[in-house]
Symmetry: C2
Subunit: 157 residues, 2 copies
Amino acid sequence: MRQGVEWALHSCVNLAWAGGPVPASRLAELYALPAAYLNKQLQSLVRAGLLISVSGPQGGFRLSRSPSTISLLDVVVALEGPEDAFRCTRILRNGPGGDPDLDYRDHCAVSLSMRRAELAWRHELAARSLADIAADVERTNPEAPQRVRDALLPGPS
Amino acid sequence: MRQGVEWALHSCVNLAWAGGPVPASRLAELYALPAAYLNKQLQSLVRAGLLISVSGPQGGFRLSRSPSTISLLDVVVALEGPEDAFRCTRILRNGPGGDPDLDYRDHCAVSLSMRRAELAWRHELAARSLADIAADVERTNPEAPQRVRDALLPGPS
DNA sequence: GTTTTGGTACTCGGATACGTTATGTCCGAGTAAGTGCGG
DNA sequence: CCGCACTTACTCGGACATAACGTATCCGAGTACCAAAAC
């Protein structure tokens, strides 16, 4: 899994606390990340419809909808793509008794088992929203949201 | 996920049917795979203790124990490594209020949620053995085992 | 004082290099079987 | 006829190239704000 997923997840939680638009450069300096690269990742989230980008001064990125309606799976899929990690290349077609016209992604026992496992994975991620994460953090560290907001303001830099 | 995982899984199922040792070259030509590269993958399975390799004529690879005691997870871990796909790099340490001495893999809400999802994935894979896969195939395609055995024999080539 | 107009600084967005990992290939070490010779 | 030693062919095992992808960076397009000038 790509490194950018971790950055994007944390940035999305921070955006949920921020409210208004925040430039990528400010999100990046929160964790000492390469700003230009984080920007690239957030662009993918914009293309997926999770974020809204606004140019110019006072611009940046903001969530496109309520944090409770954005799941971890949404973020992961936006960056990693919709296809499964395990890709069935239908090698059984070349084997003995292989049917060239059969889609082995739906018939190969190996492929089906791997898909079932990934489905369980996606189910867990889909059941957890950005708001859930934020709530967890607020429970164990109530001052975190305010600290993040302070750090994201145009501040003294 | 690596391509070799698919090859290794199918090869292991075929080894379960074969019984005796089968050289990598013969397993490879079953699906028109690059023999040397498949050999490389099987070596990882040997290092993980899933296969036993025997050199010389009539040699090859064979399962080290009963197919019912080898799970899909065993094969995947042998090739992909034991670490999670999502790796928490503890970026919160650099953030505001970050504790340099805290292991954020066990405290960061994002990391915990991702781990929970991967745990569900591993649970599914651990619950499915090579014998289960073989049984599924035999149910839908009873002649497959014999066909594989015939193809794996020293044959006419 | 109000409106307009030009400039300026800031932000995203995509195009461009770099390093690492996955992929693929090759040759040498080791081994068991087969063969020929000697007893 | 039986046993032994040599040769041979076959297999794994790791070291070596190649290609693809993830990572990182930079510069241009667009936009809102601000200031200055004109009315």
